[in-house]
């Protein structure tokens, strides 16, 4: 791939030095480290969204929608990073340069990112995403009074929008109710299109244009917002041959294969859990923990959760854990009278994100106890 070591340049991302080819973007370079930069429009196999040429009209459900070609899509803007001089840039389309020092988690970046996330979610049904009873909900009866058309779609537990939103942080205060939803669902033979769920990331447009080279999908601009649709009056007229690439890359439920009940392919590296509060795992900090009931979490040196355990006595349990494991370097706890229930809730959240339980819960010493 690279011609030689002298062709690679070095840059620092959140304190980690990494070597990258000169034409790489910051986002590409970051993917070689353990640093996660959130993005909804970027995709490892596609050129970045900003700069993609719009069309003057698109078709939805055979109806023409006129728009404008003035202006261009700025992308989701979640991948913002901050340079040493304080300036903020998109990681997805900014090339690396020698000696760059980048921060992906500075206060300014985090704040802007959350603002962007709120804008993206404002027009996408988000009531289920911010609901405190979200995990384990079957979406059939709702005690929060959310009407069915505003509840989440069948990608509920695994959609990329949800994962990224959880990582970036959803601000309940800034998000009001979703505006009136008129689901514009078109049922084709192979996949379903729900335009009300589209966040305008243009991944589908780009995969169709650059990977499939058919340009069946396109976008136009309306009031500065991305409106995605077919380039021709019908899918057939748009030269679509139903390859399904657009469905694969869609981060929301806007494009779903019909009969989706199978394991989804996770294209991206899973977002890391958001940074949590943690205390160093040592005898002194353990002494400061109350001896009441609650749930503790143990983290390894990289602050990854390795154990979630409910207990009637937090301090005692932590002392016991200190003698039986040496992997734990940090910990945190919450007090809770309903500790077995709370433990199950936290385990559920964890398994939704990672597709397994924390290593010391049924992996670790229990793993080799299985047949």
């Amino acid at each position: 791939m690279s011609q030689g070591a002298s062709d690679l340049i070095s840059l620092q991302i959140d304190g980690q030095w990494v070597k990258a080819a000169p034409e790489m973007t910051i986002l590409d370079a970051a993917s070689k480290t353990s640093v996660y930069i959130p993005a909804l429009c970027a995709h490892p196999d596609l050129p970045p969204a900003p700069g993609l040429t719009p069309c003057d009209s698109v078709f939805r459900d055979c109806r023409k929608i006129d728009g404008s070609v003035t202006g261009t899509d700025e992308g989701c803007q979640l991948c913002l990073v901050q340079f040493q001089d304080g300036s903020i840039h998109r990681a997805c389309d900014t090339p690396v340069s020698e000696g760059m020092v980048i921060s992906t988690q500075s206060d300014a970046v985090v704040k802007q990112r959350q603002g962007r996330m709120a804008s993206i979610l404002a027009n996408h049904p988000h009531e289920c995403l911010i609901c405190p009873q979200r995990d384990g909900c079957d979406l059939t009866t709702c005690s929060m009074g959310v009407p069915p058309e505003k509840r989440c779609c069948s990608k509920f537990t695994f959609c990329e929008l949800r994962r990224v939103a959880d990582y970036v942080g959803i601000s309940r205060e800034t998000l009001g109710d979703t505006a009136e939803i008129h689901p514009i669902v078109v049922d084709g033979p192979l996949f379903t299109t729900d335009y009300s769920l589209c966040i305008g990331c243009t991944r589908c447009v780009r995969v169709c244009k650059y990977v499939r080279e058919r340009s069946s999908l396109a976008y136009t601009l309306s009031d500065g917002k991305v409106v995605m649709g077919w380039s021709g009056a019908t899918p057939r007229e748009s030269r679509c041959n139903f390859c399904g690439a657009c469905v694969e890359v869609c981060p929301t439920g806007a494009l779903i294969d019909k009969g989706l009940r199978r394991k989804p392919k996770l294209l991206f590296t899973k977002p890391a859990s958001p940074p949590v509060k943690s205390l160093p795992f040592n005898a002194d900090t353990i002494e400061g923990v109350p001896d009441t009931a609650g749930v503790l979490q143990l983290f390894d040196a990289q602050r990854r959760t390795i154990c979630i355990k409910g207990t009637p006595n937090l301090r005692e349990e932590l002392k016991q854990q200190a003698t039986s494991t040496n992997q734990a370097k940090f910990f945190f706890y919450e007090e809770s009278g309903m500790f077995t229930q709370r433990e199950s809730e936290l385990l559920q959240e964890f398994s939704q994100e990672h597709n397994h339980l924390p290593t010391l819960n049924t992996g670790g010493d229990l793993d080799d106890l299985l047949g």
């Binding site: 009866t141 005690s143 009637p312 597709n355 339980l357």
Partner: protein, 305 residues
């Protein structure tokens, strides 16, 4: 205030407890515990039922299932003692006991507590075989969908403990309302000429009043039960969708014995649920998994693993 329309009965009505299911115990006739290397036990204290499974070298030896009383510690001792009744085996001769379930951390006689999610997966692997990949555990008050691998290791799960629709409590409520013994709900719900529409509400509280109005309309009890079971199956099937169900599919927990719920789930999901292996009780999956973990923990401790 319940202005109840009571269904026709056979006349000798007292305040009968239709919700009460039979407690039971069992001992193997083929195994002598004295000849075994490892005697292990698992105790699953659930919100409605307490279960104990005693195994000798990984084979089921004695089991018991009774209603959970007010105190977890008492329930654990009681159910284990009952399982051991008549066997000559005393608690002291058990090499290792693991506790699980809602009350798992208040079982003094257990040496270790393991989350019921892990125990159910391992137990289902024992009850149903190594092909099971998706387990639906419908217990007394909550339901869980668990994804596991061929060894019974948990990969993912969703759990809903906020809604009792479809769980044991929901069925108990219906049994008492309609004066139908709870163990007959399933079979009677299938004895209908044609499958009725499900209850319009999937919430047990509202389904209760809906059931009463259906009776007033002239529906017979079986039809009301069918409508209710169908509604409950819909709600549980939705939960399974969120864990991307894969075959083979199996059901554990008390509701695994509700044929009315099981058949309707199979129809809705388009998948047949596995049938348990001979002599293995899916309602005891949690306790069985705990007993298997107990055996393995003991073997590891004494160095034979």
């Amino acid at each position: 205030m319940d202005t109840l329309v009571k269904p026709p009965t056979n006349g000798n009505e007292k305040a009968k407890e239709f919700f009460r299911w039979e407690e039971y115990r069992w001992t193997s006739q083929d195994i002598d515990w004295r000849g075994g290397k490892v005697v292990s036990a698992g105790i699953d204290i659930g919100s409605v039922g307490s279960k104990a499974a005693v195994m000798v070298d990984g084979k089921l030896y004695a089991t018991a299932n009774m209603r959970t009383g007010a105190g977890s510690a008492d329930s654990a001792k009681k159910v284990l003692d009952w399982a051991l009744e008549g066997t000559g085996l005393s608690q002291d001769s058990i090499h290792y006991i693991v506790g699980t379930g809602y009350g798992r951390l208040r079982i003094p006689i257990a040496k270790r507590a393991i989350t019921e999610i892990g125990c159910h997966a391992l137990g289902a692997n024992f009850v149903y075989g190594s092909t099971v990949r998706t387990i639906l555990d419908v217990g007394g008050q909550d339901c869980k969908a668990i994804k596991c691998d061929e060894r019974g290791k948990v990969l993912n799960f969703v759990m809903n403990d906020k809604c009792a629709a479809g769980t044991g409590r929901g069925m108990e409520t219906m049994a008492q309302l309609l004066s139908v013994p709870i163990v007959e709900i399933g079979t009677r719900s299938l004895e209908v000429d044609e499958e009725p529409e499900p209850t319009t509400s999937l919430c047990v509280i509202f389904a209760k009043s809906e059931a009463v109005s259906l009776l007033r309309r002239g529906w017979d009890v079986n039809k009301v039960l069918a409508s209710y079971c169908r509604g409950m199956a819909i709600r549980i099937a939705e939960l399974l969708a969120h864990v991307q169900m894969e075959e083979d599919f199996a059901i554990t927990g008390g509701q695994s014995k509700n044929i009315g719920l099981v058949r309707r789930l199979e129809t809705m999901l388009g998948v047949k649920a596995l049938v348990p292996k001979e002599g293995r009780d899916p309602q005891l999956a949690g306790a069985i998994g705990a007993a298997l973990f107990a055996k393995a923990t003991h073997e590891k401790a004494v160095g034979v693993r």
